[in-house]
Amino acid sequence: MQYTEETVKTLSSCFLQTLAPTLEPRKQAENFLKGAADQPGYGITILRLLSDPSVDEEVRQAAAVNFKNHVKYRWVTPDPDFPPPLNPIQDPEKDQIKGLIVTLMLSTPPKIQSQLSEALSIMSQHDFPSKWQTLLPELVVSLQSATDYTIINGILQTSNSIFKRFRYQYKSNELFTDLKYCLDGFAAPLLEIFLKTGQVIAANSENLSVLKPALECQRLSCRIFYSLNFQELPEVFENHMAEWMGEFHKYLVYTNPLIQETNREKSSIIDELKAAICENINLYMEKNEEEFQGYLGQFATDVWSLLMSVSLSTSQDWLATTAIKFLTTVSKSVHHKLFSEPSTLQQISESIVIPNVMIRDEDEELFEMNYLEYIRRDVEGSDMDTRRRIACELVKGLSTHYHEQVTALFSVYLQNLIQEYAANPAQKWKEKDCALYLIVALAPRQASVGATGTDLVNIEQFFDTHIVLELQVQDVNSNALLKADALKFFTTFRSQIRKQLTLKLMPQLIGFLVAESNVVHSYAALCIEKLLALKDGKQLRYTASDLTPFLQPLLTNLFTALKLPESQENPYIMRCIMRVLSIADVGPFASQCLAELTGILVEVCKNPSNPSFNHYLFEAVAALVKKACQRDPEQVVVFENMLLPVFQNVLEQDVTEFAPYVFQIMAQLIESRRPPLPQNYIAFFPPLLTPILWQRQANVPGLVRLLQAYLQKAPQEINQGNQLPQVLGVFEKLIASKNTDYQGFFILNTVIENVSFEVLSPYMSQIWTILFSRLQYRSTGKFIKSLIIFASLFVVKHGPSKVIDTINSVQPNLFLSILDNVWSPNLSTITGEMEIKLCAVAASMLFTPLLEGSATPYCGKLLNSVITLLVKPEDERIDEEQDVPDLDEMVGYTAVYAQLHNSTKTEDDPLKDVKDPKEFLAKILGGVSLQQPGKLPSIVQGLESSNQTALAQLCSTFRISIV
């Protein structure tokens, strides 16, 4: 693509149209640009366009965004194994762009500059430094010659994003080579600009227009300092530590009323600089205590007095938390003695901790206006950077070395806070809130069983006096915040509260489910849900019969809560419903619950927006199906009548999010039926085999499960409908990929188990061919295991000779080759009790036909593997290194498919009549000895010696003799 007047015109009008309000021209323009982007030279053309001052500003901005995206998707290093979806930018054009971008970025207006800076940072991730040697020198030269802070800050911002990778990558020679390169080139100019700007700031304390960008420059320099110092303390920074630290000190104590922010929600530039400095000195404190030691005293004083003057306004949250973090690091370090004086501990607690834990107007606002966010911070751990949490971390830090002193101090504070509240509940409720917050936050973070206790108060006693009282108040809407605190306290320490007392409080908890405050009714649901999940050892603490007396009001209030404003899709409530339904004896309420849930389902289908709510909703339905239908199959019809129309709607309307759930619950319904399946199910079957459904990854596991259910309950109908080839088509598709091959085996195994051999035999040769070609070309350990299990199941269900014959029908004598090269060598890698039994029994069944034929030589290896499989513990049989799961794979799969735990299939043992596979093997060998004496002893002699011993033991245990 050439940069001509013509192209400028075309592209300009296109960019303008991408901003058009109407869809059609916008789409058209976007498509045109997409096409144009495939042409070589597009990137450089756009770059020229956006830097052309004669072009309209709006067009240039749109072009800048487009350029950034162009770089994002097409600046890739070619990898022959993974061809990129879009044409990558070619190297000569890349070089051209690299040559231009720095200058352009520094000369364009801010909005364009920021896009170019991002593009540059993306480019640098691929090419810097080894393939872009000119970048750093170019940045440095510009930095050294620039006097305008817009340009300086542009350079620093870009450098900052380039260097960020040093903050999270592991040490390696490659990383350190790059880091060293950056340090050699950038550390000195960075210090230079930092010192120079320091003088500018000192000289311009009255001149806001100079001061602001200069302070921003310092902030950016500090962020770069952080990146360059992150891996370890570089020599050049150690040599200049005094200069850096001297400057840091200056800014930590810098005050200038002129630069205070007027907007109370926005942090001022000087506060941001101070926060960045706190992060830097915190890093030094964490990793370079010794070199930093000389500066510590000064900084501790600086940060301390900083915290004394920081306000409680949200605009200073970031500064306050980073400053407190620094003190926390000091308190835990070798230099903790700085805080050892009782008066120091006291002062920190009273002047820093308590004020920052006290609830603020902003928190109250959040409590009322955005309950989900409040809950997320208050109980779900996303408060990592709130003042409350960080202040409590400081207490924990101080406790590392001064546990007793700190505990004693805080016990007293708690008493005082509670007493203040008691004396004047109306005015001093914040004090009680503070006390409850402290107790919960200072207890070790809890696992699912709940916190085990705290040194600060006696939990039982405290609960009896201060929590029960709160919970027993008649009006569930009074003092909502304290109610929420009390419920949180209850939830946190639930395992410590006696069962009797908990049950006594159950009506209160149920009452809070319909409190007006969203936080309060959510916490009530959370509390009940967690209580019901509580276990003592392996037993649930609260059983169905404990729940029965409360069941009606509980269910009523739960469903009522879902009608309260803003709680229509409250995930805490739905989760609680799920929990109750999976524990309680819902018998009489089942149809009422079903009606409620179906109604909600119909609603959310219209616009699925809250994944976790929806997930629990389907879990609740699954729990209900399980409870009701599996106990009383007659109920299935009732459920089907309610649910199937909705499900049909989901599939017809293509509500993709819900399809995987629907398949699972349908499978569950079919599984709880006795054959034959009614006609409406049969009619449903063919559409399930349409390829489009299987193309969506998330559908596959649910569909496989559903297909299995059909195969179990209606194998004849499927055969009569001539659908078996299609089912096997699904199998063939799944088996082809490493990620889904085991799903293919699920189907194949179900087919083998439920379809008669007569029906199956025409297909067997083809099935084996598919399996063996996969084995030949793309085998994995996992695949081989699945293959052995399938073959074993085949042996057990239809007899060994059928297996041998069908395999040999692919190619004469193929069976023995498979046996010797695949089956025997890998048999001992099988895991899982049921699988081991199946495979051992099947292998044992092979001996008779093998010995009858002339395949005796193959028996030794097989027998050896069977014995290993049966007698050796798993970790001795299996090589740890085999099939190590790929971490990337682990990261990948989680989001794909949400399994419903309440709808899990129970596994069925295909060999119920075989109790002990060892005995089975022994009996077989005994039989062979009788029928074909003389054949076994020579085989036994060839076994590994440990297996000979094991076999001898088996023989004596089961009283057979091998002759």
Binding site: N173, K905, E907
Partner: protein
């Protein structure tokens, strides 16, 4: 890196969660940090005025006064001295030497000699002229001294010396006077101390062979200087120079015999040569061991109190035990003659108050502890555990991290052993009971990604390994969950995945109520395998 990469990449602290911290066994070839103080001092050496020189003119005292004006005056005198030398270059030898001496005084009378002005005034070409063949010993000596101090400056100043290098190397020849050779070696050592580019220049010009000849000099100060200069020359990161040095006939024996003689000042320098050789060539480690390096080396370790000696000796030892287990066995068996065995000696180093020694000793211990099961037992019972626990709880960051590697390696069974789940339970229990957990949890919270990973790996061991489900409980009690939570959104993907996996596995919500979904179902099954291989015919899903 010939022979080195494989051997030094010991497989330490394997844990089933995440990948192995495998690259660690070999110390980073590329460094950005200062080498620890002791070695920094030795990388470059300024030659200050000789004691024998007193009685010089009064101008020398100027610099001692230290104020700015005095320094200005010093700079001025230096420029004058350079000009003076230029004028006298064609003059009488005696006057020339006098001018050189004045210049040399000026360049060595303060810790920060005015090298920059001398260079600007064109001193290097003049000094090159003074190094011409046939010049008097005295003149050569003075010129080399000047160059030594010029090369002790920053990189740019050192580079300025480059034109003089061929002559400096030539004067290392056998016919030169000892004090000239030594001074030239000194200058070369300073140049070699300044990075790989200059080292390559020196190597191409043959400095290595010329220097190595003087290792055997009967003059102690010369053999010392030669060893020091060589150690700078073979630093790497490329192992080429070290290889070349070791190819010189008799080198192995020379090095071993120097260590055997036990002359501390010389051993210090030789030990630094050994540090680089042992870090780069596994093959030469074998040769050195066969030549009997260990008994005198370990002897130094046990008997010396000198930090400057112990540092390189410990690091050499650490490199040796980073090789295969058989070398470690040799170290352990030779060490038996020492009081408390070699492990006892290392324990004492760990108890030292010097951070460098603590760190070097911990590094050596962690390598031994990454070995065979027997070696792990020996380490565990050899007295290092108490100091390691102490260091983990109280030391500065890098020592804590190094100690954590030791303790972690002690608990992980080598692949070939038959320990349940790859854990040496006896060690793990003892360490946890010894109170190591808070130290590891502190590492989880560290901003250092390796340290955080190490902490996570240890928590995984504890939670999986301790019997009766004690692991998760004790981790929870030490507030480990909140430490894990802090990593859940970490920018490093691996840390994020590891912490999420651990939380899900050991502290996850008990979602379904059936026993089979409870946490810890696969606690004893070596965890990863079970999620990888779904049982046959299982209902639709993956094992959660």
């Amino acid at each position: 890196m010939e022979g080195a990469s494989g051997a030094h990449h010991r497989d330490p602290f394997k844990s089933s969660v995440g990948r192995v911290a495998g690259q660690r066994r070999r110390q980073q070839a590329v460094t950005v940090g200062k080498e620890r103080r002791e070695s920094v001092v030795r990388a470059k050496r300024l030659r200050r005025a000789d004691p024998s020189d007193h009685g010089d003119d009064g101008s020398m005292q100027l610099a001692v006064m230290g104020d700015e004006a005095a320094y200005k005056a010093l700079e001025e005198s230096t420029v004058n001295a350079v000009h003076n030398l230029k004028n006298l270059l064609k003059g009488s030898p005696a006057k020339r030497i006098g001018a050189l001496q004045t210049l040399r005084h000026l360049l060595s009378c303060t810790a920060m000699p005015p090298v920059h002005v001398a260079i600007e005034a064109g001193v290097v070409t003049l000094l090159v002229d003074c190094l011409a063949f046939g010049s008097s010993e005295e003149q050569l000596f003075e010129a080399a001294w000047c160059l030594t101090n010029i090369a002790s400056g920053d990189l740019q100043q050192t580079c300025a010396v480059e034109p003089a290098l061929p002559l400096l190397i030539l004067h290392l020849g056998e016919k030169s006077a000892v004090h000239v050779v030594e001074q030239c070696a000194w200058a070369i050592g300073n140049v070699a101390g300044d990075g790989e580019v200059l080292r390559d220049v020196l190597l191409k010009q043959g400095a290595l062979h010329s220097l190595s000849r003087h290792l055997l000099s009967p003059v102690p100060s010369l053999s010392r200087t030669a060893a020091w200069a060589l150690s700078n020359l073979i630093k790497g990161p490329s192992p080429k120079a070290a290889m070349e040095l070791m190819k010189i006939e008799g080198m192995v024996d020379t090095l071993v015999s120097h260590v055997s003689k036990g002359e501390e000042d010389l051993v210090v320098e030789v030990a630094w040569v050994l540090v680089y050789v042992t870090s780069m060539s596994d093959f030469h480690v074998t040769l050195l061991l066969n030549a009997g390096l260990l008994p005198p080396l370990l002897g130094c370790l046990a008997s010396s109190e000198q930090l400057s000696l112990l540092t390189p000796v410990l690091r050499t030892l650490g490199n040796i035990v980073a090789g295969d287990n058989s070398k470690t066995d040799v170290v352990l068996s030779v060490g038996q003659s020492l009081p408390g065995g070699i492990i006892g000696v290392l324990a004492r180093c760990l108890e030292s108050k010097h951070r460098t020694l603590q760190k070097e000793a911990a590094w050596a211990v962690s390598n031994i502890a990454a070995g065979s099961i027997l070696q792990k037992h020996t380490v565990f019972n050899g007295g290092v555990v108490p100091p390691l626990l102490h260091l983990l709880a109280t030391a500065v960051f890098d020592v804590r991290k190094e100690s954590a590697y030791c303790l972690g390696n002690l608990c992980v069974a080598p692949k070939e052993s038959r320990e349940q789940g790859g854990i040496i339970l006896e060690h793990l229990i003892a360490l946890v009971d010894g109170g190591c957990l808070p130290g590891f949890i502190a590492l989880v919270r560290s901003p250092d990604v390796e340290a955080a990973r190490l902490g996570l790996q240890f928590l995984e061991l504890v939670m999986r390994g301790l019997p009766n489900g004690r692991g998760p409980k004790i981790v929870e009690k030490e507030d480990g969950i909140s430490a894990l939570e802090e990593l859940q959104f970490h920018e490093n993907d691996e840390l994020q995945t590891m912490s999420n996996t651990l939380i899900d596995r050991y502290f996850g919500e008990e979602y379904g109520l059936e026993e089979e979904y409870g946490p810890g179902m696969d606690v004893l099954r070596g965890s990863d395998d079970s999620s990888d291989y779904p049982p046959w015919r299982q209902g639709g899903g993956l094992t959660a």
